[in-house]
């Protein structure tokens, strides 16, 4: 939710009409992509356009609105990994939870790589499983729409509230949470 004064507005909130038009355009884009062949030039152009637009939005929405500088983020990440691997002294629930997430992600990537290397019919890769869905027009359109939503969330989500109308581009704090103001020790805004 965006926090403007005491009112809470949804993530990525903009004036209703432009938002509605943007949503309809995105839906039409996904429906159009759904009927394109995987190898067609139009399909490739559409995917590249989507990537370009999302990256552009990330850049436009993000100036001065990251919670940490990259160097501070790397330091925090290194400490978190050390904790998860048991090298740190923190045996908290958060560390144990992080370990389970790491194991799940490693299992997924590891088995996908194993299946890819083996190249056997009874060992499908993750992308082959997705391919079973994207072989259908509706499946390709739905999955493309979900992919677009994910990309926009990654590009615009979890920004510090901006000043003025710029806030409408970038989300801000999630529902029910106030954004924490990073101190100088956390690296400040980036």
């Amino acid at each position: 939710m965006l926090l403007r004064g005491r009112r809470r507005l949804p993530v990525g909130w903009v004036w209703p009409l432009p938002r509605l038009v943007a949503d309809l355009l995105a839906l039409a884009f996904a429906a159009w992509e759904g009927v394109q062949g995987r190898y067609s030039a139009a399909s490739h152009a559409g995917i590249l356009a989507a990537i370009g637009i999302v990256l552009l939005l990330a850049a436009l929405a993000g100036r001065g609105r990251q919670r940490k500088r990259s160097a501070a983020w790397v330091g925090d990440g290194t400490r978190a990994i050390a904790t998860v691997l048991g090298l740190g002294r923190d045996g908290s629930a958060a560390a144990r939870g992080g370990l389970v997430w790491a194991l799940l992600i490693a299992a997924t990537i590891g088995w996908d790589m194993t299946s890819f290397v083996e190249q056997k019919h009874d060992l499908p890769t993750l992308s082959r499983l997705f391919g079973a869905v994207t072989d259908h027009d509706w499946g390709r359109a739905l999955l493309f729409a979900a992919w677009l939503v994910l990309g926009l969330s990654l590009a615009l989500g979890r920004r510090l509230p901006g000043k003025g109308h710029g806030a409408a581009l970038g989300g801000g704090a999630p529902a029910g949470r106030r954004p924490s103001r990073p101190s100088r020790s956390q690296g400040g805004h980036a």
């Binding site: 995987r38 990537i51 983020w73 990440g77 997430w101 088995w111 994207t134 999630p174």
Partner: protein, 64 residues
């Protein structure tokens, strides 16, 4: 059921179970925390967007 199907089912069940557990036990980090950890800085966000872009290109533009 093939070996691949069994393993993918187990992995998917693990993801689902852990999503439910983290939803129920608030002290454990949820999927939102994992994603948010990446979105905390430009570097993490760029890494996440790069993975997103590559996955999209692979799934929609190449033969999976």
């Amino acid at each position: 059921m093939t070996l691949g199907a069994v393993v993918w089912t187990v992995i998917a069940a693990g993801w689902l179970a852990w999503l439910v557990v983290t939803r129920c036990i608030r002290t454990l980090p949820g999927i939102g925390s994992v994603v948010n950890a990446f979105l905390g800085s430009w570097l993490g966000r760029v890494l996440a967007l790069a993975a997103w872009a590559e996955a999209g290109w692979h799934v929609f533009g190449q033969r999976p």
